[in-house]
Amino acid sequence: SAFVPPEMMQQQQPYTGQIYQPSPAYTPASAQSFYGSSFEDEPPLLEELGINFDHIWQKTLTVLHPLKVADGSIMNETDLAGPMVFCLAFGATLLLAGKIQFGYVYGISAIGCLGMFCLLNLMSMTGVSFGCVASVLGYCLLPMILLSTFAVVFSLQGVLGIILTAGVIGWCSFSASKIFISALAMEGQQLLVAYPCALLYGVFALISVF
């Protein structure tokens, strides 16, 4: 009279899931592989967390070369590790300049991502996920980090500073719009996507400059 329903269930019904197996963490990136419970068979930590340094580097290069044609498929996997690192780096460079504004950075990036998400869903034929928008906008923050690093040493409130700031805002928004239109297939609307990105990065620039 032992209580054995799980085993009986396995014998009776066709088993389509893996859930009753005592398997370790479920990894979205490699759904088909089956990990045993031994230490040697466990996947590497980065793979389990879904952090792929090679992809991060590829995306960073895409942002840094504004004239390089973006591949629409690189944004298929939502990767928020890179953007998080970039936001932290931006806050850190502001800290070096004496401005403790992590809260502003996070708040504005959250609101900005939400706004862009709504706008892109309204403007594109296929929808876009929030993770994708956050990922793209986070990666394109990289030139802004260069600007705030420059602001640590030199003041940006002169004519040179204004020109540099305008250039960096243009660079960021151009990269972001380039990736968005290649991922969403919105030809001819790059300027329409670039302008709201420019406004968002302009607010970040305001934080760096003032």
Partner: protein
């Protein structure tokens, strides 16, 4: 949503394979009330097969009803994520379709539940197993609540779909409309066409927010109660939405032919003049320059809006009320923005504000002397040479 109802039925056939398993499932399952618990997992590809198999299974293995009927067709208590349809990146049409399907399922389930409730009540004392009945009911209720919340969230999401046609523009169109917003029309005898588009006005409002922020930062405006960003956004959006609504209400009273979206669009494009004026005068500080810009640029954009409204209104009194109100509000807003959001000459500040300290505390600080002096002398020489 009524108009959108036929759409999911039409698009069932070309829908991607994972979702096409949905329509067969409800008719299969609605007959058996016991499948109501199994349908939560109907996002899986195994749903139709599980539905049929589950129906047979629960008939034969009635004594194990407690376990089986609470689980999905795959026999696992936990939702099998591998096969769960992840629609986070899917299109709007799929979302709307899923929402429709969930609504239909909910309605059918409501009918199924009503029928099942009586037989369950009768069988409760007959005891299939306390765990079975109660567990099933609890799972059912939890699923109902969850589904209701999800469908409410979906309907909120799908409401954004209503705004889609207003964002379908091209850069050339936006540029043309921006330039047109500064040119008053001459023909006021028949109604002028207004582009019912929301992209341009929305971007112009955000630009105005950015310009205000810039102006506040350069003049080191301190806002005691609130934040700079919040104040700027509140002012600009409040003006755009509030004055549009007010003028729409007046237009309704004065029998003018204009819809709310058209009014939003008209007023939004009218902010283009404000953006230009403020962008120039926040950086070059001459009051006379500001007044010239206020009259010319602000006046042109106001004249355009007024002309369009006049062309759509009949009767002198009505025209006067509507256009007078709009002109006054528009011009006064520009005046307010200029004086409230950037550095004010210290003399005026002292005489006007005096002992009362408003929440907006404008404190004149050290201005970056060099760049300002450069700009001022440049414009002075330009004005002298002209």
């Amino acid at each position: 949503m009524a108009a959108a109802r036929p759409r999911p039925r039409e698009t069932v056939v070309p829908a991607p394979p994972p979702l096409s398993s949905h329509p067969p499932a409800p008719p299969l399952a609605s007959g058996t009330s016991q499948q109501s618990a199994a349908r939560p997992g109907s996002g899986t590809m195994s749903a139709p097969g599980a539905g049929a198999a589950g129906g047979g299974r629960s008939g034969t293995a009635a004594d194990w009803g407690g376990f089986e009927d609470n689980m999905q067709g795959g026999g696992s208590a936990v939702i099998d994520m591998e096969n769960m349809d992840d629609t986070s990146g899917s299109s709007f049409e799929d979302m709307g379709e899923m929402h429709q399907r969930m609504k239909e399922e909910e309605e059918e389930e409501a009918e199924g539940e009503a029928g099942a409730a009586e037989e369950e009540d009768g069988e409760f004392l007959g005891m299939k197993g306390l765990r079975g009945q109660l567990g099933r009911q609890v799972a059912d209720q939890m699923w109902q609540v969850g589904k209701r919340q999800a469908s409410r969230a979906f309907s909120l999401y799908a409401n954004i779909d209503i705004l889609r046609p207003y964002f379908d523009v091209e850069p050339v169109q936006v540029r043309a409309r921006l330039l047109e917003s500064m040119i008053p029309v001459k023909m006021i005898n028949f109604p002028q066409k207004i582009a019912g588009e929301l992209y341009g006005p929305l971007m112009l409002v955000f630009t105005l927010v950015a310009i205000l922020l810039h102006g506040m930062k350069t003049s080191d405006t301190i806002i005691r109660e609130g934040t700079l960003m919040g104040t700027a956004i509140g002012t600009c959006f409040g003006y755009w939405l509030g004055v549009s609504a007010f003028i729409y209400f007046l237009a309704y009273l004065c029998n003018a032919q204009i819809t709310m979206v058209q009014m939003l669009s008209l007023l939004g494009y009218g902010l283009f003049g404000h953006c230009i004026t403020l962008f120039v005068t926040y950086n070059i500080h001459f009051h006379s320059l500001f007044y010239i810009f206020w009259l010319v640029v602000g006046g042109l954009s106001t004249l355009r809006m007024v002309a369009v409204l006049v062309s759509r209104t009949v009767g002198h009194t009505q025209r006067l009320i509507l256009c007078g109100t709009l002109a006054a509000l528009h011009m006064l807003f520009l005046l307010y923005l200029h004086f409230a959001y950037h550095k004010v000459v210290e003399g005026i500040l002292d005489t006007l504000e005096g002992p009362n300290m408003p929440p907006f505390q404008r404190v004149a600080r050290d201005i970056p002397v060099v760049s300002n002096a450069v700009l001022n002398t440049t414009t002075k020489t330009v004005a002298l040479t002209l």
